[in-house]
Symmetry: C2
């Protein structure tokens, strides 16, 4: 039965490593994604020291990324009574994870981009030249698309899991 524990740890390590790579490809720092993966598959809450030790990273690094994960709403701080230390626990529901990431990325990245697109569109509003008109038109198309996608995201993210599943079923019919 000891064998099972080893196998589990191996599988978990593979998952943590791959989640880190995937995070990096999507513009999230590798360590943050790894900590997230670690906590998602942790049977119990973990302290900063445990995270440090498991991933072999420094206190500063662990601390910063744990706090970033908290600010993304992907993990939460838990305190045990009688203990002064903070422990961390991940949101494990995939639908909830998706919703939180979608919300944050909208707020942090999509909205500022939309702002720029609107600026560029406005700046080229009354242009007479063919180039000016084409640019204005292109900005308009991009703005429409991005704001549409963003609204879709909002809409989906604010749904209950069950509703979303139903919708998806309809979608595939």
């Amino acid at each position: 039965m000891e064998e099972e524990i080893v196998k589990l740890e191996e599988a978990r390590e593979e998952f943590v490593a791959q989640w880190g790579i995937m995070g990096a490809q999507w513009g999230i720092n590798r360590t943050m994604a790894q900590i997230h993966a670690l906590l998602m598959t942790a049977p119990e809450v973990m302290s900063t020291d445990e995270v440090m030790e498991t991933l072999a990273i420094s206190r500063g690094n662990a601390h910063t990324n744990l706090k970033d994960l908290v600010s993304w709403g992907l993990i939460r701080i838990v305190t045990k009574k009688g203990e002064r230390k903070e422990f961390f626990e991940a949101e494990k529901d995939v639908w909830e994870i998706f919703r939180r990431v979608a919300r944050e990325r909208k707020r942090r990245e999509i909205d500022p981009a939309l702002e720029t697109l609107r600026n560029c569109k406005a700046a080229s509003e009354d242009m007479k030249s063919a180039e000016g008109k084409a640019f204005h038109d292109q900005m308009g198309q991009l703005e429409d698309f991005v704001s549409f996608a963003s609204k879709m995201g909002d809409r989906v993210a604010s749904m209950q899991h069950g509703k979303a599943i139903k919708l998806a079923m309809k979608f595939f019919s």
Copy 2:
């Protein structure tokens, strides 16, 4: 009327810069995103030299990123008769841009991640411990979610623009 040209160039520069920042936030290199933005708003096809000059970057950099954009299907090579140089032209249709990015990211990033999730799930298939079962279950949930999202993406990406719009309308009703 000269004034309009200046204003247009300013707006275009703002767009190029912001698109670069956004790209970087989504794990795409800044220069690649900037070249893409530049070509999306170019009234004419551009040569490597023109791209180099406009963005003040080296030949190697311009070359590498132009070829990467071609491999993403976001720009294409155009030749002018009587000229040996290659020119580049961007796909301008936002829906088509979205489809190509979705396809490539699936192929390059989602599919490998799914592979790992399946591995981890399989590796913990017959585990008896509570930890093993919980891990297996978590991998299963993640796999279901990712593969579902990926299928949705496929489905949407393979739609015609018009169909997608209709669907979206239904969605918002």
